[in-house]
């Protein structure tokens, strides 16, 4: 049988129809950078904003109401990792990236090394930098003259504990890590089902914060080369300490953010959490039955004379290299993170802890609802935030973090202090080799 011309024509027509509908739809359905063309003065600019902070659309609505010429659309994302993966794919593809992007501090070196972020040092007022703690501002400049974003929130770490349990057992709130270990042992001895905390081998950011508190900074820049120092004495001290507690069995070895962990927080078998300033929101969601029983204290210290803490979480708002309107985008992110109105809204709507110091006092007058029993919550948080050490992230944080998951996962499972130290060495090796193989110049 042969294919008749009529049939061929019909097939060609169908194919053409598909193509035509496909192309014409891009105008009405397309959002983001593709839809907007170069801006003539006075023309309306539309910006897209990828973020995962809850209720960010409500904060942005304040801006949109006052700036009819610069309209921002929020595209809510799944969280830091998926958003970065998508952004990098879009950068490689050459289109599809948003104008504005929420980026966790540890992701900024990765994004900068992929040319995903625009340098906005010429677009933002010069006095913005002064409002941020030095360590946080460094995270958006990477120690250079360029500025790759405006910091939004930070996550200084504190110790969250069930005040009622400590009181019943007559245990004082630990101020040093030795006291923390003793408290963990006493609580576990009083009831073998109960733990003061857990070593989570799936939360690399958490362990990074603990290492940062001890004085570690895993990456560094030496001249033109990167350095990796995950296996420094500070990190080894932290790993050895937690390995010891896990081996002893007084600290749990199960990951955080699992249903079991949620249940343990709620039913009182997990009575402490080394977390960051955003912890009240998580506790409120996961352990609603424990309302009013928690309190927050500064982190236990290695050296009580020199109080320190680490950061867990926190992010900046950046302009992507694909944005056709970097000046307007920079104007928006400066407003978002430094104006009192926007910071107030970020605190009440999105529940973040703002990084911009001048706006903190106005926005953080009341303690979080779940900690209404602790009126000085934000005073303590503010004090601890000042003690965060500086920490440099490198361009392959993802590799180091996945090495953390692999190696510490095995070590926690084995409940062996020696394996915790092996895990640190393995992380160092994997991270260093990946950096070399990716073509960065590395100094050992």
């Amino acid at each position: 049988m042969r294919l008749t011309t009529g049939f061929k024509a019909a097939a060609a027509l169908a194919a053409a129809a598909l193509l035509v509908t496909g192309c014409s739809s891009s105008d009405d359905a397309g959002t983001g950078t593709d839809g907007s063309t170069g801006k003539a003065s006075g023309e309306k600019v539309e910006l897209t904003f990828w973020t995962w902070a809850p209720n960010m659309d409500k904060v942005v609505a304040l801006w949109n109401a006052e700036n009819p010429d610069i309209q921002v659309t929020v595209n809510k994302q799944d969280g830091g990792d998926p958003a970065v993966t998508k952004l990098l794919t879009a950068i490689k593809a050459g289109s599809g990236a948003p104008d504005i992007m929420q980026a966790e501090y540890q992701k900024i070196p990765t994004l900068v090394s992929s040319d995903a972020l625009a340098d906005i040092s010429g677009e933002i007022p010069a006095d913005v930098a002064a409002g941020f703690p030095e360590g946080i501002w460094n995270a958006v400049t990477l120690g250079s003259e360029a500025v790759y974003g405006v910091p939004q929130d930070s996550g200084p770490m504190q110790f969250y504990y069930r005040a009622d349990v400590f009181e019943n057992l007559g245990i004082a709130v630990p101020t040093t890590w030795d006291e923390y270990a003793a408290a963990a042992a006493a609580i576990h001895a009083a009831d073998p089902n109960v733990y003061l905390g857990t070593f989570s081998a799936t939360d690399a950011g958490w362990f990074t914060g603990l290492a940062q508190q001890a004085g570690a900074s895993w990456w560094g820049i030496d001249g033109d080369a990167w350095t990796v120092s995950i296996d420094d004495t500070a990190t080894e001290k932290v790993a050895s300490y937690w390995g010891g507690l896990v081996e002893e069995g007084v600290i749990n070895n199960k990951p955080m953010y699992t249903p079991e962990w949620n249940a343990a927080l709620n039913n009182g078998t997990e009575v402490g959490w080394l977390s960051a300033v955003w912890a009240p929101g998580v506790l409120e969601g996961n352990a609603p039955d424990t309302q009013g029983k928690w309190k927050m204290a500064p982190m236990p210290q290695w050296d009580a004379a020199k109080p320190a803490t680490g950061n867990w979480g926190g992010s900046a708002t950046a302009v992507t290299s694909q944005s056709k309107h970097p000046a307007e985008a920079a104007e928006f992110i400066t407003w978002l993170n430094t104006s009192q109105d926007a910071v107030n809204a970020l605190v009440t709507e999105s529940g973040i802890y703002p990084a911009y110091s001048p706006a903190q006092a106005g926005a953080l007058a009341e303690p979080p609802a779940f900690f209404s029993n602790q009126p000085d919550f934000f005073e303590i948080a503010g004090e601890t935030a000042k003690t965060a050490g500086s920490f440099t992230y490198g361009p392959n944080v993802n590799v180091a973090y996945s090495a953390y998951n692999d190696e510490f996962g095995k070590a926690a499972e084995a409940k062996s202090q020696a394996k915790f130290l092996d895990a640190v060495a393995a992380m160092q090796k994997v991270t260093l080799e990946d950096l070399k193989n990716s073509g960065f110049s590395v100094k050992e």
Binding site: L3, T31, Q77, G205, N262, V282, W312
Partner: protein, 313 residues
């Protein structure tokens, strides 16, 4: 059902492919023609099937029960003890970001419904052409299609993203619809099915009567292929309904998300937000209801198709 059992009874060798229950029914219907070996249900086979059924159904039962629990009961009360909060949970879900969940539901219905429909049209035309026409390069085309059946769709998601990014279609409905239209497996099925169910003689007769090729296809071949096309539709509908990777990569705006990507986003809120387990579980329950309904409605076609394929191959 009688039609089904009869077709198999006349071909006694075919009884082996029936399920035990169908075999029992077949045995009752006409005991003479079925051999003794297939008559008695095997205890161990039944046990294995029961275990299989439990394996498949327990998670569904869990979702059903868990969706009735409030957030604080979810991980504290007995796993299979139902509670009374189903409607509260649905209310919470509906309230999440001003009813975004319903939008995800509609998006999914659009992606799966329109995508599967277009896929059926393309599969039917391509399969019919491959089965009934001789043209240069036919074997090559078919071999490439067969290779396409073997390549998992997940692998293609990133290249498809890069292609669609070049024409500026990412983050639109088209980004998910267009790649769903071509289904190598659907074309393959349509080819097998049209070869088996549309006799060449009928096409010849239609031509002799003066019907154009288009009309022969539309009015003679398509009705005869219908059960097979329903199968293709169902396969493709379910595949798109459950697809995660493609929309996950293609879409940045959560107003365009299908259910799969939206629900996963509720679970992965980042470390500083509690995961919304109750909403996700309730959403998962609601998201399977349309699929179950579709299967019940189209089940008739599906069964006829399976039986017919067995006879005419």
């Amino acid at each position: 059902m009688p039609a089904l059992t009869h077709t198999h009874d006349t071909r006694s060798g075919g009884a082996a492919v029936l399920t035990p229950s169908a075999r029992r029914r077949a045995g009752r219907a006409s005991r003479k023609t079925v051999r003794g070996a297939g008559e008695r249900p095997s205890g161990s086979a039944t046990a294995i099937l029961l275990v299989g059924a439990a394996y498949c159904l327990l998670p569904v039962a869990w979702v059903l029960v868990a969706a009735t629990k409030s957030g604080r009961e979810l991980f504290s009360s007995f796993t299979f003890a139902p509670s009374t909060h189903l409607f509260e949970n649905i209310g919470d879900l509906a309230a999440y970001r001003d009813g975004l969940f319903w939008r995800w539901m509609l998006n999914t219905a659009l992606y799966a419904g329109v995508g599967a429909m277009l896929s059926v049209v393309v599969s039917a035309m391509a399969g019919y052409a491959l089965a009934k026409y001789a043209f240069r390069g036919k074997t090559a085309v078919f071999n490439i299609l067969l290779a396409g059946v073997l390549v998992p769709g997940v692998v293609l998601a990133i290249p498809q993203y890069l292609l669609l990014a070049q024409v500026g279609l990412t983050n639109t409905y088209w980004a998910v619809l267009l790649p769903s239209i071509i289904s190598p497996y659907g074309i393959y099925l349509a080819r097998i099915y049209s070869a088996a169910s549309v006799p060449d003689e009928i096409i010849e007769a239609a031509r002799t009567d003066g019907a154009s090729e288009t009309r022969t296809f539309m009015q003679v071949a398509v009705p005869m292929m219908m059960p097979g096309l329903v199968t293709v539709f169902l396969f493709q509908f379910v595949a798109i309904w459950n697809n995660f990777m493609l929309p996950y990569i293609m879409l940045g705006d959560d107003k365009l998300f299908p259910l799969t990507v939206g629900l996963s986003g509720l679970l992965n809120q980042g470390a500083s937000q509690p995961a919304l387990y109750t909403l996700v579980i309730t959403g998962a329950l609601l998201s399977i209801i349309p699929l179950v309904a579709l299967f019940l409605v189209l089940q008739r076609y599906w069964q006829v198709d399976l039986a017919a394929g067995g006879v005419k191959a």
